[in-house]
């Protein structure tokens, strides 16, 4: 078997940029019976989480803490998605699982596990980590998935997220979102003298790193969908302006040479354009800048506040907010500007629209009767659903698979401050992300591949 795995890894292995990570498909151990019984239908509104057993990966005499920590990260990812219910390891009947033997399925059926993950993580003589896992359908008694990875030891958390993504994708039929990061604004100091820094963390809150030092006020960072860059607003220059920051090199540059304040930036889906607002007197209009040619194009021209533009995933349309009709409402126009159609008509004010990467929904902030809500509607404005509401919820951003929204929730008063939360499209699975300090303006990275 080992010889087979090695040969397969040579054949199927591929590299992840910057990671030197090699994945291989593991051969199935069990005979192939009929089609798998385990799957999650995530098109339903209310989902019963799938019971899944994740016994600690074996270390084969190596670093068993690392193996246990990786297993915990995988289980935590799956649990936070709201789609899985990782079972209590104390209930497990079969102990000391090996990745290379067929499980005693009866033992796992007895504790109502529907899926089972076995794995191992071993440090190779050359210093790299080798991890293998298998995903089993307990009731069909068959292997659903088997993969093997090689990477450098410092990538162990990413490796756990990649395995969690593989399990998620196999069982839901959709791409996962665990091997991703969230850029946000870290907030410290008293409310009237807040210090704001750009920060980045893994989507589970681990590995927080600060990208600016807090000298300048910084707001609304947004990930590039195609590169390790973010665009954000900074008060560091003569006028507050939109900047680009390369998060690997730390290099930053101002976007365009506009006569006044620019703000509310966002990338186009191909990463080649940034759209943003330019303040001209009392009015804000939307402009686009081509990052290669440096050419800027005006997209709106109204005596109003047009802001928070966001492209559709095909790059053909732009949703934005405008108070041209008297209060903040959502409008959709073509990517070259022109005729804008209002799409929000419910009671209250609508703002900060952001188009789902799947294209099917637009998420927004809604203010009504002193409450701030996060909701979604279809791009034609129909089917509005409020996912969360309270004193102050603001600024949704999508997970790359379009199933989860990250946003910030503020609390009132002198000691209040924002924290980052996630909610999935069902609206039932609302979770706070643990950050070292107050945190706002979250934006999700694309899935790294």
């Amino acid at each position: 078997m080992r010889g087979m795995l090695k040969r397969l890894s040579d054949l199927v292995g591929h590299k992840v940029p910057g990671l030197a990570l090699v994945a291989a498909v593991l051969m199935t151990l069990a005979p192939q019976p009929a089609s798998a019984l385990v799957e999650i239908d995530i098109t339903q509104g209310n989902i019963e989480p799938l019971p899944i057993a994740l016994p600690s990966f074996s270390a084969d005499g190596g670093d068993s803490k690392l193996a246990a920590d990786m297993t915990s990260i995988i289980a935590a990812d799956l649990k936070r998605s709201g789609l899985f219910n990782p079972l209590d390891p104390a209930s497990f009947i079969q102990k000391n699982m090996s990745v290379n033997s067929t499980p005693r399925f009866g033992d796992w059926r007895q504790i109502s596990a529907q899926a089972l993950v076995t794995g191992t993580v071993i440090k190779q003589p050359d210093g790299r980590l080798r991890a293998e896992f298998r995903l089993w359908d307990v009731f069909a008694a068959e292997q659903m998935l088997g993969q093997q990875f090689y990477t450098t030891p410092e990538n162990w958390r990413r490796l756990a997220h990649i395995i969690a993504d593989a399990i998620y994708e196999r069982l839901t039929g959709e791409k996962g979102y665990f091997d991703t990061r969230i850029v946000y604004v870290d907030e410290t100091g008293p409310k009237d003298k807040r210090i704001k820094r750009l920060a980045i963390m893994d989507q589970d809150g681990a590995n927080v790193r600060y990208l600016t030092r807090g000298d300048d006020l910084v707001l609304t960072p947004r990930f590039s969908p195609t590169s390790q860059e973010i665009t954000y607003m900074s008060y560091g220059g003569a006028d507050p302006s939109v900047y680009l920051l390369n998060i690997e090199t730390g290099q930053r540059e101002i976007v365009g040479n506009f006569p006044g304040m620019t703000f509310a930036p966002r990338f186009s889906p191909d990463g080649q354009n940034v759209i943003m607002s330019l303040q001209q007197g009392g009015n804000a209009n939307i402009f686009q800048m081509d990052l290669r040619s440096r050419r800027t194009t005006r997209l709106t021209n109204t005596a109003a506040i047009d802001t928070s533009p966001s492209y559709s995933p095909d790059g053909r349309r732009i949703v934005f907010e405008s108070d041209r009709g008297g209060t903040q409402q959502l409008y959709v126009m073509g990517a070259n500007g022109g005729n804008a159609q209002r799409i929000s008509f419910g009671p209250g004010r609508y703002s900060t629209p952001v188009w789902s990467p799947r294209g099917d929904l637009i998420a927004f902030t809604k203010q009504h009767q002193g409450r701030f809500m996060i909701g979604v509607m279809r791009p034609d404005g129909k089917g509005e659903r409020i996912l969360t509401e309270g004193y102050h919820n603001e600024g949704p951003a999508w997970s790359p698979n379009g199933r989860v929204l990250v946003f910030f929730r503020d609390t009132p008063g002198a000691n209040g401050g924002p924290q980052v939360w996630t909610v999935d499209l069902t609206g039932y699975n609302e979770l706070r992300l643990d950050t070292p300090a107050f945190a706002s303006d979250p934006s999700w990275s694309p899935l790294i591949d």
Binding site: D192, G281, G282, P412
Partner: protein
């Protein structure tokens, strides 16, 4: 190089800000108006005896009569002390969304600026900036604080006290 240039600028702004806060607190203890122990033509004179800020209703950038009176006094003072250039800072309260509030603050700053220009202050002396909801002066959780934060503040760029 780029960084250093602007770091100096923000440090200067912080100094001005402290002066303004201190003077504003003094002003509240003297209900009879003019403070005689303040040297005319100084930044303190402007803040204490003229008033450096005007306030707005929720989601509005229209100047009320009190705001217009304050700005008229500012213009008179600025026309007299023509050595000053000013920055009008627009602000919004926390009960709005971030991007819109940046634009709303800009609209308020613009309204104050336009009024000053209408009163004879040269447009070339005036710069505007918006801080949106990022720089509240009052932090309690009701309208008594939020109404103080919906403001346009005229800051003297080259003031000495």
């Amino acid at each position: 190089m780029f960084k250093r240039e602007y770091a100096g600028q923000s440090a200067r702004w912080i100094v001005i800000c402290f002066a303004v806060l201190f003077a504003a607190a003094c002003a509240q203890t003297k209900p009879d108006g003019l403070s005689s122990n303040v040297k005319p033509g100084t930044g303190q004179d402007f803040v204490v005896n003229v008033g450096d800020r005007v306030f707005f209703e929720e989601d509005q950038s229209v100047l009320n009569s009190q705001g217009q009176a304050t700005l008229a006094n500012q213009a008179k003072w600025l026309n007299r002390y023509s050595q000053y250039t000013i920055t009008v800072e627009g602000h919004a309260d926390e009960r709005g969304t971030r991007q819109y509030n940046i634009a709303l603050g800009a609209r308020r700053a613009q309204a104050a600026r336009d009024y000053l220009v209408g009163q004879g202050v040269s447009a070339s002396r005036i710069k505007t900036i918006s801080y949106g909801k990022e720089r509240p002066v009052a932090v309690c959780n009701d309208n008594s604080c939020w109404s103080q934060n919906r403001r346009a503040v005229t800051v003297l760029n080259n003031a000495t006290n």
